[in-house]
């Protein structure tokens, strides 16, 4: 039998290697997409159940505060399983499953910009000499749900004074950790990472504004923004930067992440305001979780009007939403 030499295959009929690989890739891509779609369409129900945070170290010498509300706080389980922390996924229960492995020790915060004491501060140095307080705050999300949360923290003003901001410092910008290795959500470009938030200097210095390090008298769980987060109770939740790694004193108003994402929906001020609707939902009332009905009337400045309304005298809050 005659064995033809391989050259008898006309070279034009040999599939180009690149094309061949492309085709394989294409088939694989189609299979993935179809499989993924089928899994999505059929399987969204079977998401893993949320996991409440393990209890943390007890914080010493925590003082009571006159700023606390006497409303009944949500439970530890509710507060640690229902979180908007997109660096750990966009589903509310994902941070409770993915955040526990975040390494929060050692932790440093870089202080930069218009101040006399720019430096990289260790968390222990930030906490040195601060008296921790229980601050039971109402927490109102822009998505029209709310909780009552017993934070533990100290006034941000105390730390700002240590940094000695100059007269040029009109705003404070907060940058939060974005580490794709530790944070699966940060590998997906759903937002422009890292997450940035900002406050006007008088807002940052307001006694209600605190740096939070604890919850229910214990060290702050990772899904709630450990080891250091903001609480600004008269503003929507997205202003509360979590896991802060940089504080910068600036002259110009910072562009916060959600405003960058959708400027018609999220502003810089983001004060809780029942009379200014989010374009996609009303802000007049809210769901006080775990309540089922949206029947809790939203209060101006989330009920903190007596303390903060004066910061905004003469401002059009419809424009500065």
């Amino acid at each position: 039998m005659l064995i033809k030499p391989p050259t008898s295959i006309p070279s034009a009929e040999i599939t180009d290697r690149k094309l061949y690989l492309n085709r394989r890739e294409f088939v694989r891509a189609v299979t993935w997409v179809a499989g993924g779609a089928a899994a999505e369409v059929l399987g969204e129900t079977f998401l893993q159940a949320a996991q409440p945070a393990p209890h943390g170290r007890k914080l010493d010498n925590v003082q009571k505060s006159g700023f606390s509300t006497d409303e009944k706080p949500n439970t530890w389980e509710q507060i640690t399983t229902y979180n908007n922390y997109y660096e750990f996924g966009t589903d509310k229960e994902q941070p409770s499953l993915l955040a526990p492995s975040l390494k929060t020790e050692p932790w440093t915060v870089a202080v930069e910009g218009e101040c006399n004491k720019p430096a990289v501060y260790h968390l222990e140095d930030i906490l040195k000499g601060q008296t921790l307080e229980d601050r039971i705050y109402r927490h109102r999300c822009v998505e029209a749900w709310s909780m009552v949360i017993p934070w533990v923290g100290f006034p941000l003003a105390n730390f700002i004074k240590k940094c000695e901001p100059t007269s040029k410092a009109k705003f404070v910008e907060f940058t939060t950790l974005s580490d794709p290795k530790q944070m699966p959500g940060a590998r997906v470009a759903v937002l422009d990472w890292p997450y940035v938030e900002g406050l006007r200097m008088d807002e940052a210095l307001h006694p209600l504004t605190i740096l939070v390090v604890g919850l229910y008298g214990e060290a702050l769980p990772n899904q709630n923004g450990a080891p250091l987060r903001l609480a600004v109770p008269w503003k929507y939740g997205f202003k509360h930067a979590k896991s802060i790694v940089r504080i910068r004193f600036v002259e110009k108003q910072p562009l916060n992440t959600w405003q960058r994402q959708a400027p018609t929906e999220y502003g810089f001020y983001a004060n809780v305001n029942p009379t200014v609707d989010h374009p996609r939902w009303s802000q007049a009332s809210e769901r006080r979780l775990p309540g089922f009905f949206k029947n809790h009337k939203t209060l101006m400045f989330n009920g903190y009007a007596d303390q903060v309304a004066s910061l905004y005298t003469g401002m059009d809050l419809r424009k500065n939403f």
Binding site: V41, E44, T45, Y86, K92, R280, W281, K294
Partner: protein, 223 residues
Amino acid sequence: MLSNHTIRWILKPAIFLAALGPCAWLLWAALTGTFSADPLADITNETGVSTLRFLCITLAVTPLRRLTGWNGAIRFRRMLGLFAFFYGTLHLLTYVIADRFAGLDLPAGIVKWKAVRDLAASVGTDIYKRPFIMLGFTAWIVMAPLAATSTAGMIRRLGGRRWQLLHRLIYVSAVAGVVHYWWLVKADVRRPETYALVVGGLLVVRLWWSQSRKRPVATAVAA
């Protein structure tokens, strides 16, 4: 292929029970208290997504039948479509009751004519003000006549051709449903994208087939 008996007494009841799965899951969660901290969001999301799922599955029946040549597939279509309407209705009721009705100022415990009027006004205003709700409402209302004309008697009364034409409204419902989902998501659109891909694929396949059916006719005219 499958016998009439198997389809009627085994496969159909099995699919019926499976289709009640999301509903059963919600009931189970309510009874055992395994909802998240936000039960309303759980129910709204599950019923809404189930509506989209059943719309997709219903739309997949014809392509499946064509690809496999298994005509028995058609016998599940009505049930699947009605489940889409069922979950869509639960989704709408959840919104009307927990989001709108609950926000009204009502005289304690008494339902009066004024309450009904206020509720209608509240729902109407919200639909008018928010495009994503308008689309969701469109997706539901378009399904209503399809559910109403889903019986064999209605098919006879309307005549096959007219019935089929009317039931193409499911395309409108599916597209409106996907856009509704897309517009309500804040930033992470990966799930709405998946549904858009599936619905898009199922519609493009139909377009493709209807074009390739027309082509020989066009050639004949040209000849």
